[in-house]
């Protein structure tokens, strides 16, 4: 847990253990988990009685009923299965980019290696959701993507894998152009089993709405319950830029000259609002969840305020 100390505060983990992911659908896994499956299985939860047929597990034979009624019944129980939780963390350059002016290099971080709060929060959230999944015996897979899947971990189970999860996230690096649609279209990228998919990203999709449609279609095609976590830094939400600027895209490194005035900033905010509305609408149309979390929001607020408020996390 050496790396996890950085990403998530240690006292945060017990709180996470008391939480669980609230998947709306019954899940079907291959291994037993804590999730109630649609199928009958071997949990302790009673489901139904069934007339004994030869070959049934004699351990399930209900001797009590047989002694009173003489009829052979077997008790059936609900099958409790694990949930497959897939985490996709956007690690394109935009996630790590800090809005900076070349004319005024940050004194605290002259090399420009200052970590973006957006990237930090995205990983913290991913780690929290992942830990919650692990601690509730769900199957967890995690992947970092930019244009394709950059890195991924094999499917993990149990809290013992938390260390791997944390160190994976700890070591993840940003870079390259990001494209959710392209990354998910790569063979093998999509989760094989239905489950819950979380995408942590700033959703600066070059392809715009079209790309989002495609990505969401791919995910819903595999029976995923998708949660889009939109993480935006404060500068992106309310830019404080002024003067004559050449805006350089962190991913494409192409410049755009603009004389920033109050009018331009107002236009930007208007455009941002429109973009968020679009994301939210697209998700709602597909029965998916969309939340916006500003990067400067404390983790607790994000977890208990936003995610719990959206019904995605229950205590």
């Amino acid at each position: 847990m050496s790396g996890g100390g950085h990403l998530l505060p240690p006292e945060w983990l017990p709180r996470l253990e008391r939480l669980s992911l609230d998947a709306k659908r019954r899940v079907a896994g291959t291994l037993q988990g804590k999730r109630r499956s649609r199928r009958l299985g071997s949990s302790l939860e009673f489901a139904d009685y069934r007339v004994y047929a030869p070959g049934d597990d004699v351990r399930r034979f209900d001797w009590g009923v047989y002694s009173r009624t003489g009829k052979a019944f077997v008790r059936q129980f609900m099958d409790e299965q694990e949930l497959t939780v897939s985490l996709f963390v956007d690690c394109s350059a935009s996630m790590g980019a800090v809005m900076s002016s070349s004319s005024e290099p940050s004194a605290a971080d002259p090399a420009g290696t200052k970590e973006s709060p957006k990237w930090l929060l995205a990983r913290q959230l991913a780690a929290s959701i992942g830990y919650m999944a692990l601690s509730s015996y769900d199957r967890l897979q995690i992947a970092c993507y930019s244009r394709s899947i950059n890195a991924r971990l094999p499917i993990m189970r149990g809290k013992g894998s938390a260390h791997r999860l944390f160190s994976f996230l700890q070591g993840a690096e940003t870079g390259g152009e990001g494209s959710l649609g392209a990354a998910l279209a790569v063979p093998g990228a999509l989760p094989r089993q239905p489950g819950m998919t979380w995408v942590f990203s700033d959703f600066w999709l070059e392809g715009g709405e079209e790309e989002l449609f495609r990505a969401l279609s791919l995910l819903s095609g595999t029976g995923q319950e998708v949660v889009l976590v939109h993480v935006l830094s404060r500068e992106e939400l309310e830019p404080k830029l002024t003067g004559d600027l050449r805006l350089v895209d962190s991913e494409t490194m192409s410049g755009k000259e603009v004389a920033l005035t109050g009018k331009v900033l107002d236009a930007y905010k208007e455009e941002l609002e429109r973009y968020r509305t679009m994301l939210s609408r697209v998700c709602a149309e597909r029965g998916m969840s969309y939340v916006l979390i500003p990067a400067d929001m404390p983790l607790t607020d994000a977890m208990f305020g936003v995610l719990a408020g959206a019904g995605l996390v229950t205590g």
Binding site: S94, L205, E236, T242, G243, S254, K256, A259
Partner: protein
């Protein structure tokens, strides 16, 4: 407000240059943003209307343009006509010289007005607008500068003074008036001088320097047509003086030849009328002959022209052809002959004979009573008017009283010898002063024996023998007097060939004022007027010409301690005047006097405004042209009139604001 240097407007090209620089300017601060996605969408609209879009919302550009415009404006050396509300004291110089009475072309209303009337309107307008908060001093150009109002702020008084402006036809004191205006404003800080003029000023080489802003307002109008009578004279032609001839010289300022009709009046009776052809730039001489005698002749242009002051001219007929001289002598053939030779009718009264005669008549034995010791000895005054009284030798006592004294008082008097201590000739050469009597005379080699020591108060010595004055000439009560301080018998002067010349000179000089016409004087000049001894009142009465038509009231004559002054200022309006003297008995004695305008005022070929310069460097535009040679106009003006300091302060403020913009790095 005005601009002194329009040339600097060329610097205005810097303004579009700045705009161009902005349009081609590429200086953006690189700023990393996570994604262009939204910015691109935002800018798509803004970039649609390039490049003018760039110019919008650029405070820095506008500030720089403003600063540059201010600098260009400053280079143009603007100034504010501070007369509008600035100067506390405005000195208005009104040119009221004769040329201001010229008619200018009728205005739109069809009302013909003189330049002076126009100027009055302009001055009133000026006082009402530019000088509404100023104290006004109004100067006009007369024989000497006239201060009509001084430091006046009551508008009605000023308007009244302006309305009271009249043309002055005499020799106008242009330079003196400007000098006074300059002196009035010398010590004042917040004053200015405005000169209203038709700009026909006498050539003046040295400019009058002012310490305060000075401007020239031209009141000129179109050049009017003028026909002027330059000369007009009368001379007797016949032996008996029954026939007279007249000569007139006329000229015009018309561009082409024209004809003018002149009428000649004698004592207001039309004598003759002539049509004259006048060539431009030439003087036309016309003579009239066989004119009857008249006291006053008047030559008049039959039609009006632009300048009325020279449309009439007067001349005076001589009562008779030759001078009449009353000679009181005990017998002096040389003198009598010399007078007769000079054309005088000599009436001789023999002093000795008269004494004998009276003695015989009375049968008195009192022969020892002395010459003229009683009135009874004195012969009666001969009948008729005399132009000159010559007393040769001692004057008998009887001739100093009664009718003789009256005659002596009103007739030019020439005394030879006379009373006084007899002194010997101390030798020495004859020294002659310049005087009509001494013309063509040298007196070299003439011997003088005994002299009479006498120093009359009425005249100056014109001939001295070394230090001893021997001939005095002057005037007493306005009449010429001549006194020889030696008896002709005690000198060999009568034998000299110069004697008749001298007598002729003396006769001519002493009878020049004969007749009732005193001659022709320029307006406002001084004239010696013969004042009768018993005169109690005298006045100038306009009788003809511009003076009469102009409605000039009769003016009282000047007085001094002794009564009516023999030295009078002639009236200022051209025309014919009668100088009427009244004695106690109520009898009137009148002399004619013609007043003419300064001929310079009719000469409008010289359009040369007043030459003024300002000591303070900000030279006014109106005289900048006329006075191109004046240096020092490029120095920084620090007077109230200049806008330069204000512009500099404003430009600095703009630059300061610009600095703020630079520091913040904002567009707006």
């Amino acid at each position: 407000m005005g601009i002194q240097s329009w040339l600097s407007l060329w610097f205005g090209l810097t303004l579009p240059a700045i705009v161009l620089m902005y349009m081609f300017k590429r200086k953006y601060v690189d700023t990393t943003v996570p994604s262009h996605l939204l910015w691109e969408r935002v800018l798509r609209n803004l970039e649609a209307n390039r490049p003018w879009q760039k110019l919008q919302n650029r405070l820095l550009l506008w500030l720089q343009l403003l600063a540059a415009a201010l600098m260009v404006f400053a280079l143009m050396q603007p100034f504010l006509q501070v007369s509008g509300g600035g100067s506390a004291h405005v000195v208005i110089v009104a040119d009221t010289s004769g040329s201001m009475s010229a008619q200018i072309q009728p205005s739109a209303e069809g009302e013909a007005a003189t330049r002076l009337q126009w100027m009055q309107e302009r001055i009133k307008e000026y006082v009402k607008n530019q000088g509404r908060r100023s104290e006004i001093t109004l100067l006009s150009v007369g024989a000497s500068p006239m201060t009509l109002v001084s430091h006046e702020s009551d508008r009605t008084v000023i308007d009244k003074a302006v309305d009271g402006l009249r043309p002055y036809y005499g020799q106008a004191s242009y330079r003196e008036t400007l000098s006074l205006a300059s002196a009035l404003t010398r010590e004042e800080r917040d004053a200015e001088v405005v000169i209203f003029t038709d700009s026909y000023w006498k050539q003046d080489t040295a400019p009058i320097t002012f310490q305060v802003p000075v401007s020239v307002e031209k009141v000129q109008g179109e050049l009017p047509l003028n026909v002027s009578i330059d000369q007009f004279g009368i001379s007797p032609k016949g032996e008996t003086g029954s026939s007279y001839g007249a000569v007139a010289v006329l000229s015009t300022n018309a561009k082409e030849s024209m004809s003018a009709e002149v009428n000649l009046y004698g004592d207001e009776q039309l004598l003759t009328s002539k049509m004259l052809e006048l060539e431009p730039g030439k003087k036309s001489t016309e003579s009239f002959s066989d004119l009857p005698f008249a006291e006053v002749y008047r030559l008049e242009l039959s039609q009006d022209d632009g300048y009325a002051a020279d449309n009439q001219s007067f001349a005076f007929g001589l009562g008779h052809g030759s001078s009449r001289v009353l000679l009181l002598t005990s017998g002096n053939l040389f003198l009598e002959k010399a007078l007769q030779l000079s054309g005088a009718e000599v009436t001789r009264v023999a002093l000795d004979e008269s004494k004998d005669k009276t003695a015989e008549d009375n049968g008195s034995a009192d022969k020892e009573a002395g010459k003229g010791s009683t009135a009874a000895d004195v012969p009666p005054v001969p009948e008729g008017e005399f132009d000159l009284l010559v007393i040769d030798g001692d004057v008998p006592e009887g001739f100093k009283q009664g009718k003789w004294a009256e005659l002596a008082a009103k007739t030019p008097l020439w005394t030879i010898g006379g009373e006084g201590a007899k002194v010997g000739n101390q030798g020495g050469r004859a020294v002659l002063s310049k005087h009509p009597v001494t013309a063509y005379v040298t007196l070299s080699g003439v011997y003088f024996g005994t002299l009479v020591e006498q120093a009359p108060a009425w005249g100056e010595p014109v001939i001295k023998l070394g230090d001893q004055p021997i001939v005095y000439a002057g005037s007493e009560n306005g009449r010429p007097r001549l006194s020889f301080h030696f008896l002709l018998q005690d000198s060999d002067l009568p034998l000299s060939p110069e004697f008749p010349v001298m007598v002729s000179n003396a006769l001519e000089w002493m009878t020049s004022g004969k007749g009732s016409g005193l001659g022709r004087y320029m307006a406002g000049a001084q004239a010696d007027i013969p004042i009768a001894a018993d005169t109690v009142a005298a006045k100038w009465v306009p009788t003809s010409g511009l003076a009469l038509t102009g409605g000039i009231p009769a003016a009282e004559a000047l007085r001094n301690e002794q009564g009516i002054s023999p030295v009078q200022l002639v009236p200022e309006y051209p025309g014919l005047y009668a100088f009427e003297q009244q004695n106690e008995a109520g009898e009137n004695l009148r002399f004619w006097l013609a007043v003419t305008a300064d001929p310079y005022e009719a000469n409008w070929s010289n359009d040369q405004g007043p030459v003024v310069s300002q000591a303070a460097p900000n030279l006014d535009e109106s005289e900048a042209g006329e006075h191109a040679g004046t240096s020092g106009s490029n120095e920084t003006a620090n007077r109230a009139g200049s806008l330069m300091p204000w512009l500099a302060v404003f430009a600095l403020a703009v630059i300061a604001a610009e600095w703020g913009v630079y520091q913040r790095g904002r567009s707006i």
